[in-house]
């Protein structure tokens, strides 16, 4: 028969299929079983009287001292925490730990009971799983960022909108405390439209940075991982970053071929290891943004083309009509009167027929420039076609409207130096007024028709006349 010794409590403790320890609540080992000593290669004297956690590797010790201890004090129990223990011969041994700390009346006699399981196989499997999980999460999250960017960029129709979306996406994707987006406008000046705070930060950075902007190429990436690195770059940059509560920084150019269109600048509040994955994702975002920027700008250009007269640069009929409609809407609430001035050039047909279209074009351009200079900043001069012009004056009463109309007539009347003396251009002017409290229902068409009719009256009276249509 199997002896009682095999099932005696002593044997159960000493030779249990797991390591068993008892420690004080301060983690000092009081007693261990034989299994533990066999597994670890320690003798009782090595372990008893020592802090248990010193048997663990440094990473485990840190986890022990923070989360593990807090949990033990909170619940009085720990289940299945993974540690790595360092054996007597220095080799690592992955373990799973269960522990219990029953509360006792006398703290001096309080103990913790610990059970240790060898989890070498499980550990390797878990680490593999963890690595795979992390890898999957990383590529999945990169993909998600780019997909989301793609969707959100679709809606952007201006530079500013694009900047805002890009900054928001970058902020989330990289957990950056601030993201600034720089974009060059059509004059080549870089602007920051992502908020006054980070615009300030960029300004200060550009001042302090000893980098020649002309030397930045389309594939350059600036990356600072810590304040130490910043200070190594230059004390000025280091101090500035500290002031900005920034300890790491990346800057990625937005480029179209070799041309730099802008940059995405991420600010981080702590040191960051900026690995390839992060930089690749930033580059990918920048490439996407570049494409969207091209689209946005092309779109804007087309819209401009559709609303402005190519020859004179004046607003075209579509745009003027739109503006008049808007002005009518606003007129009542703002108590603004509106004036429409319709101008037809006298003598223009003759010039075109006798002197040719090139001269005719030049006359139109000259007259257009002069008319633009003759009106207020808020007025719009538009070309309705041929030699007809419509001017919208918002917030102009009768006196103001007439003053503007006279200035316009004078501008057209003034001699054009390159033109032969026989050929004179003057304006037949019609003015239609719409008072803010007018009870008359007006549309932009009806207003323009009234002005046109008034202009026709002027034409019938001869050249260079002005007629006002009563409102």
């Amino acid at each position: 028969m199997t002896g009682d010794a095999a099932v005696g409590t002593d044997d159960l403790f000493e030779n249990a299929p797991c390591g068993l320890l008892v420690t004080t609540t301060d983690d000092v080992v009081i007693r261990t079983n034989q299994t533990f000593l066999d597994w670890t290669g320690f003798s009782a004297g090595d372990v008893v009287g020592r802090d248990f956690h010193y048997l663990l590797d440094p990473g485990s010790q840190a986890f022990y001292a923070t989360r593990y201890q807090a949990e033990l004090w909170a619940r009085g129990a720990i289940r299945e925490v993974a540690f790595t223990l360092i054996r007597a011969d220095g080799t690592p041994m992955p373990i799973l730990v269960n522990a219990e700390m029953p509360s006792q009346a006398d703290p001096a006699s309080a103990v913790v009971r610990v059970a240790i399981f060898d989890s070498t196989v499980r550990h390797d499997y878990e680490r593999e799983m963890l690595t795979a999980k992390r890898l999957a999460e990383t590529s999945e999250s990169s993909l998600r960022v780019l997909q989301e960017a793609s969707t959100r960029f679709l809606a952007a129709s201006t530079d500013v909108e694009l900047s805002a979306e890009l900054a928001s996406i970058a902020r989330d994707a990289f957990a950056a405390s601030e993201v600034a987006v720089l974009l060059a406008d059509e004059h080549g000046t870089f602007r920051v439209d992502t908020g006054a705070k980070n615009e300030q930060m960029i300004r200060q950075l550009v001042e302090a940075w000893p980098i020649d902007p002309l030397s930045i190429t389309a594939d350059a990436v600036i990356s600072i991982e810590s304040l130490d690195q910043a200070y190594a770059e230059s004390p000025r940059v280091g101090d500035l970053l500290r002031k900005l509560r920034t300890e790491a920084l990346t800057a990625v150019p937005i480029a179209e071929g070799d041309r730099i269109l802008g940059a995405i600048v991420c600010f981080f509040g702590r040191p960051r290891a900026l690995d390839q994955q992060v930089l690749e994702l930033q580059r990918a975002l920048a490439r996407q943004a570049s494409l969207v920027l091209s689209r946005v700008r092309l779109q804007n250009q087309l819209e401009r083309l559709a609303r402005y007269d190519q020859l004179t640069g004046l607003a075209n009929r579509t745009l003027v009509t739109e503006r008049i409609s808007q002005a009518l809407k606003v007129s009542r609430s703002r108590e603004n009167s509106i004036a429409i001035i319709f101008i037809d050039l006298d003598g223009f047909k003759l010039i075109n027929d006798r002197l040719g279209h090139r001269v005719g074009d030049m006359v139109l351009q000259t007259v257009s420039d002069r008319m633009r200079a003759a009106v207020r900043d808020t007025d719009i001069v538009g070309r309705f076609g041929g030699d007809e012009f419509v001017i919208l004056c918002e917030d102009a009463d009768e006196d103001a409207a007439l003053a503007i109309a006279h200035r316009l007539a004078a501008a057209v009347r003034a001699p054009i130096p390159t033109l032969a003396a026989d050929f004179r251009v003057t304006a037949s002017v019609g003015v239609a007024l719409h008072a803010s409290d007018s009870r008359r229902f007006e549309t932009s068409d009806s207003l323009v028709r009234r002005a046109d009719a008034a202009m026709y009256e002027s034409k019938r009276s001869g050249s260079d006349h002005m007629t006002v249509s009563a409102s």
């Binding site: 609540t25 301060d26 983690d27 802090d51 956690h53 010193y54 590797d57 440094p58 990473g59 485990s60 010790q61 840190a62 986890f63 022990y64 001292a65 923070t66 989360r67 201890q69 807090a70 949990e71 004090w73 909170a74 619940r75 009085g76 129990a77 289940r79 299945e80 925490v81 993974a82 540690f83 790595t84 219990e100 029953p102 509360s103 006792q104 009346a105 878990e126 680490r127 963890l130 992390r134 902020r171 989330d172 990289f174 957990a175 950056a176 405390s177 810590s226 304040l227 130490d228 500290r242 509560r245 300890e247 981080f268 509040g269 702590r270 040191p271």
Partner: protein
């Protein structure tokens, strides 16, 4: 008596949001000097539960949970904001300003001791004193500096945290240890450390263990007390000494308590030293 804030205090909507967000609780003497207890990584305001009774007679005791810990409003967690200590410091200053506190005593444990350093540097006019329990301004060794950990060790730690959180929620749900002796304390403490979102814990761990705030120590202008545990593997004696030597007007006390959580394991001793410091 625990109440959210004093009746009659009017705080704006935003202020109310801040107090709710951080599960702010105020106890103690409403006329006393305010003392703000800030927990460290892995804990919550309940890690101070054994100490706060010592202060309630004479001080106005303010407790809070960092967003993502304890009973804070997890929906307020923002990966970009909380990617560094600065986001947490913003919250602390917002709480202090919302409650219109002055002459605040900041008691910070572990990483929150460094939040105290940053808070005091940003708004010295709000603070009277700073108590740092088990502080470390940088955990990774560097040239001429002993943080206590190599880069590999910290990487190991972060891996270890990630793998231990793998099954965390389920493990926690199954370990309700009803205990006869002090069940009410156990339950409160246990519930407050109940579930930490693994993603948040992972990021908070990185913020804690990868930060470097050595430069900020020299800027502290209020009197400071460094409380050092014997045998603290996270914040060793050398590190505690470093902190003391770099904060201009500071005292250093080596306690008998052992381990990194003296506020839990030796609350009476920690309280005694703080009281002596406050005078």
């Amino acid at each position: 008596m625990i109440r959210l804030w004093d009746e009659g205090d009017t705080v704006g909507d935003r202020g109310q949001d801040a107090l709710r967000r951080n599960n702010v609780r105020i106890t103690g003497n409403p006329d006393g000097q305010p003392i703000l207890f800030v927990h460290g990584f892995g804990g919550s305001q309940e890690t101070w539960h054994a100490m706060t009774p010592e202060f309630e007679a004479d001080y106005r005791v303010i407790l809070m949970d960092h967003v993502g810990s304890g009973d804070s409003d997890v929906s307020a967690y923002d990966r970009a904001k909380y990617d560094s200590l600065h986001g947490y410091v913003d919250d602390l200053l917002e709480i202090i300003e919302t409650l219109t506190l002055h002459d605040v005593v900041f008691v910070g444990h572990s990483v929150s001791a460094l939040m105290g350093v940053l808070a005091v540097n940003r708004a010295p006019e709000l603070f009277d004193r700073l108590v740092l329990v088990g502080p470390s301004p940088r955990y990774i060794d560097a040239d001429g500096y002993v943080g206590g950990f190599s880069q590999e060790a910290i990487d190991d730690l972060l891996n270890s945290l990630d793998s231990n959180y793998l099954g965390w929620s389920s493990a926690m749900a199954s370990t309700l240890m009803g205990n006869a002796e002090r069940p009410e304390l156990r339950t409160t403490l246990e519930e407050s450390i109940r579930t930490i979102d693994p993603a948040i814990a992972s990021q908070f761990a990185r913020v804690t263990f990868l930060s470097d705030n050595r430069r900020d120590l020299a800027d502290v202008t209020v009197p400071a007390l460094v409380l050092q545990s014997t045998e603290d593997v996270i914040a060793s004696y050398e590190v505690g000494k470093y902190v003391h030597e770099n904060i201009p007007n500071s005292e250093f006390v080596l306690m008998e308590s052992r381990g990194h959580l003296p506020n839990l394991s030796h609350p009476a001793e920690v309280s005694r030293h703080i009281k002596a410091f406050l005078g």
